[in-house]
Symmetry: C2
Subunit: 158 residues, 2 copies
DNA sequence: CTCGTTGCAAAGGATTTGCACAAGT
DNA sequence: ACTTGTGCAAATCCTTTGCAACGAG
């Protein structure tokens, strides 16, 4: 990938990684790309569909939002650039999130569908074991854990 | 490992859970249900599509395999009955496996798509932390971990 | 001006659904 | 016989693609 000079820089602006990454590859900075990235960041977690909806909302009545196909193409691009990340939870529902910072693990409740982000270190020991026993490199960013959240578990017990 | 299609004989032992579970709910034991369950068990891991293919293969040239829609409906039913289990790996690819045995965790390689089963205890510490910190009950059976297997990792380094 | 990009529309693949007929009990 | 199940086909959903017009560099 590219190089980072000094300390890991949090989500500060000033030199948007988007423009930089694009320019570095001879790609173009378009309003669509900026808007899609902004939408992904704004929604904590979003499916392509939800992202599209958000864009349509942001555009308002008069304005035009990026086309669905553009949303898909852009998400794919942004992911290649390392600016967004996606996970698969239930069925055909890829969840995108801005991944500029450190990765986090997603946990989804099967009952209510709520998604929480948890510290990636919860999987450290699992990753170690997989590496040691299988030579398997766990990709923490793509992992989605499912189960039942506290609230739903209590409901079921009631 | 094929059986003759003309002999509608439940290839199972004394008290097949399938028949029992069905009867207990006033549902019917059909050859399709038996065959779908057998196919899931035969394939270690299978998508609905693969299961359908297997059924077609088992049926042979002359015989008729259960319809695709029946496969879907049956998988859903079998899961409700607790006889099969499914996980989501990559995109819209639900993976079914017979759940009569003890649960195992699936690990899928993003490059070659190979799926391995690993000991569920790899997630024990993760499960404990999630329970302690969030009150979240991890459902080990539905978890699919993704990453890169040893073979593919070596290829990439080459 | 030159290509990378986008919008539109049509193509695809994977599930699901409505129904009339076949089949288990 | 009474109902549940199944096959078929059409309907959906979600995503991808082909192509001509558009716009960033």
């Amino acid at each position: 990938m590219s190089y980072h000079s000094s300390a890991p820089r949090p989500p500060v602006q000033g030199a948007p990684p988007l423009a930089t990454e694009l320019r570095a590859r001879g790609l173009r900075l378009t309003s669509q790309r900026q808007r899609v990235l902004a939408a992904v960041a704004a929604l904590e977690h979003g499916t392509p569909e939800e992202i599209g909806a958000r864009l349509r909302a942001d555009a308002g009545p008069g304005g035009a939002a990026p086309d669905t196909s553009t949303v898909y193409r852009t998400l794919e691009l942004l992911e290649r650039l390392g600016l967004v990340w996606h996970t698969h939870l239930g069925k055909g529902a890829p969840i995108y999130h801005a991944g500029q910072q450190h990765r986090h693990v997603h946990v989804a409740c099967q009952s209510c569908g709520e998604i929480s982000s948890v510290d990636p270190t919860v999987l450290d020991s699992a990753a170690e074991r997989l590496a040691a026993e299988l030579g398997f490199t766990l990709d923490v960013g793509h992992v989605a854990l499912s189960g039942t959240c506290r609230t739903c578990a209590e409901k079921e017990n009631a």
